[in-house]
Symmetry: C2
Subunit: 482 residues, 2 copies
């Protein structure tokens, strides 16, 4: 049946890139639709055996470089359900809204600010899809589904998920699922600073789930209601905040490059003054060239003292930092209490998973050394779900399988995630590992019996070389750290 | 002021153990009350810089040993909000209830099944607290707060948090925060099995947050509304399930022992037939001797095919496993479709954090080598938040601080979490690291300049030895893996 489908020269069905990625994710066990046997749930996804390792590796790399390998940053892990007063003070209860509109004709529901705008590029794109605008668009936009101008009033829809804590439902019982991890760092600012007696500048970092009741979900896992963040709040002297914004935008850009992202697909874009959030003095987006165009991956914002000031006011608790050296302009003497300013690099972990998959995806036509084309995920070894697959050439030879399992255990002993596979011919096993992004395959064969060597096969260029069994772990470790 | 408080011979204020643990957690930055500046939120806690590392280490150890270092188990990471049909099929919507009662006298609200029962041990304990039972307890229990028998009717309260997905609230929009991670493994059973072509027996593992709207929260982080789980579903031949239950109860017991838990504080307790959950054929609890007595840490249950059968019925999707070898008794020929049985080791990650803290807590009176008493957390090096603290003896000597920072970087390069500290006298720094559970301190001093050696100080016995700088990383790594 699949022979009827049109294939390209790499042997891959000729589909838009995103469809290929989604199919690969399901086929290899990266990402499944959530609750699939029940028809799925809007925008919810489950990470399969490879996906969970990829996500963990990305997040662990961030944690290692952001928290462990710096003297000036510590981590926290706060609860998802926080006091509702946090979200009142932060402005989310009053203002974390999207403008929601219903189409009276086709009954679809959409965001006014994302609808096709009459008279500009969006309309051109819209007409290209073969859709027609019906009537005069007095409001400047039309229904994205049917082009109608018969629309309900815009109403403000708050994106926070609400639930009730405690057995009796009342106004007092309302709590929210956090829409961002950032506020926990502000609320815990003094506890952390005092416990560790941290001096400016210092950062507090957190990873975890956040929830937004998005009206529009799109692009696979790119915009979903449940997602994972990697955020850091860097507290600094107010007069140094511009310098630190510069520093962090470069650091964060380099983090992606260091994990192998192609520079031509990555850019830093400063926000125009009219697109800046109300809490930000300046902001850069790290943008990636997704299959649908440049879009956000991470934001690095100068939030000034906006958040600490809000929480100080709302809680009635002093959140100032004391600097015994700084000269207080009011007294002319050293010793000053003040609110630090904050630079926030806020990265999407879920978006990073998608970005790394897209960036790593590659197809190769048949070549001299290989009669079939192949799909290969060129993931950086540091984030690849499996670092080394160990393959006995013949499944029925117990010496080979025993030796291969022995090698796998050597990797495990060094905390390197290795994978044993004996199913199918060696070529198909290589192909599976290429699609899984495994950078190194180690094959145990007849020659191993004679000289204790194995074949090391490189994912990216399919080069093979003979190495000693005793060197296998060290070689893979060294190449992973490169 | 603290001098007025009565101290024991280790120099620690004389308080019940749990109070000391809570105080240590706050003092050293393990665990803070959530949203503290707003007066906190019922049973919600935030992990500080040390707590987040401890929790991560415990969970990573579980993942490494359960998923990475076994051929037969793979991991997943499912969404917290799943299709509501999952929870209808699992029985949680209809049956995940606690019996809730209001006291008409003091207005407190409590669980009927946890209230002091008249005529048994609980009553004795209750009277010991100086409380009196008021009236005749026709229902067999009394108000835990005031002893009143004037109580409201019992009503069933569902423990799942509800919220609404999508911009319009309706019956169709209701979704739940998962009350356990387990169901995602059943719902994804076939996707995972087929992707990896797994053969029985095999397991699917997951870690993550779950939520229960508990009527009674208690014992610090032990019972809270938001908590973290480490669950694994092990699918096996129906006739082998008893054997695998035996296997897993031993494995899981040994896992805790291997991470240094004192055997006298840990036990396996089989459930009596009358306490078994309706879905379980047999169950063991791993129990720990907490300061309030023996209580649950993990449950290992034989869930038979209860869950797969429920989801197969409710979804209308076949969830059977195909075994080409097994002889079908109906046909007498090889080749059979059937539902596997399931052994579930379900551990509480949040409870583990508390358990490891309690088990590691120790106090020592002054000794020959030390004039002050001390508090020390004897955490296993594998789960200790910081593996090695590197301390320049004198802060003002730039050679020493530079050398210490150089050593810290060597640890980082090998992915060992090391910590640089130059604040205060060396004795106070050691004391801080003892309370943080750091197994090794490395001190850089004048002699280092001469012979490139440092002092390695052991947390547990405060023994000190001189080692070469070049050996520091390898020694700490080896002792951590021991």
């Amino acid at each position: 049946m699949s022979n009827d489908k049109k294939k390209n020269k790499s042997g891959v069905e000729d589909l838009p890139l995103m469809q290929k990625i989604v199919a690969l994710c399901k086929r290899r066990g990266f990402i499944f639709q959530s609750s699939e046997i029940y028809g799925g749930l809007r925008s919810a996804y489950d990470y399969g055996p490879l996906g969970v390792e990829l996500k963990r590796n990305i997040m662990n790399e961030w944690w290692r470089q952001t928290v462990h390998e710096r003297e000036d940053i510590v981590g926290i892990d706060a609860s998802i359900i926080m006091s509702p007063r946090v979200w009142e003070a932060s402005g989310h209860v009053a203002g974390f809204n999207d403008p929601l509109v219903d189409c009276k004709l086709c009954k679809s529901r959409f965001r006014a600010d994302k609808a096709p705008q009459v008279g500009i590029d969006a309309e051109v794109e819209y007409r290209k899809q073969g859709k027609t605008i019906v009537g005069v668009a007095e409001r400047g936009y039309v229904c994205p589904e049917c082009g109608s101008v018969e629309l309900s009033e815009e109403r403000q829809f708050n994106l926070m998920f609400k639930t009730d804590l405690g057995p009796v439902k009342s106004d007092d019982s309302t709590v929210y699922l956090r829409p961002e991890t950032a506020q926990a760092m502000f609320v815990n600012f003094l506890n952390v600073q005092q416990t560790y007696r941290l001096k400016l500048p210092f950062g507090i970092a957190q990873q975890g789930k956040s929830f937004r009741n998005e009206i529009t979900v799109e692009h696979f896992i790119f915009r979903s209601c449940e997602f994972e963040q990697m955020e850091m709040e860097y507290f600094c002297e107010p007069e140094e905040s511009d310098t630190w914004l510069d520093y962090w935008k470069d650091q964060r850009y380099q983090w992606y490059i260091g994990l192998g992202v192609r520079p031509e697909n990555l850019r830093l874009r400063p926000h125009d003054s009219d697109e800046l959030a109300h809490y930000a003095k300046a902001c850069y987006d790290v943008e990636y060239k997704y299959p649908w165009g440049w879009d956000e991956l991470e934001g690095i914002a100068n939030r000034t003292d906006y958040d600490l000031r809000n929480h100080q006011r709302a809680s009635g608790k002093k959140l100032t930092y004391f600097n015994p050296q700084k000269v207080n302009p009011e007294t002319g003497k050293p010793g000053m209490h003040y609110l630090p300013h904050v630079i926030e690099p806020a990265a999407g972990a879920t978006r990073s998973v998608l970005m790394f998959l897209v960036d790593a995806y590659d197809e190769e036509p048949p070549s001299e050394g290989r009669k079939d084309g192949r799909v290969v995920l060129r993931l950086h070894p540091r984030i690849a779900p499996i670092k080394a697959a160990v393959l006995p050439l013949v499944k029925k030879d117990e010496w080979l399988t025993g030796k291969a399992r022995d090698i796998v255990k050597r990797f495990w002993k060094n905390s390197v995630n290795a994978f044993y596979d004996e199913k199918d011919a060696i070529g198909r096993r290589y192909a599976r590992q290429d699609e899984a992004g495994t950078p190194f395959c180690i094959t145990v064969d007849g020659q191993t019996k004679e000289d204790d060597t194995v074949t090391l096969r490189y994912r990216d260029d399919m080069r093979q070389e003979r190495i000693k069994v005793d060197e296998a772990v060290a070689i893979v470790e060294a190449k992973t750290r490169e």
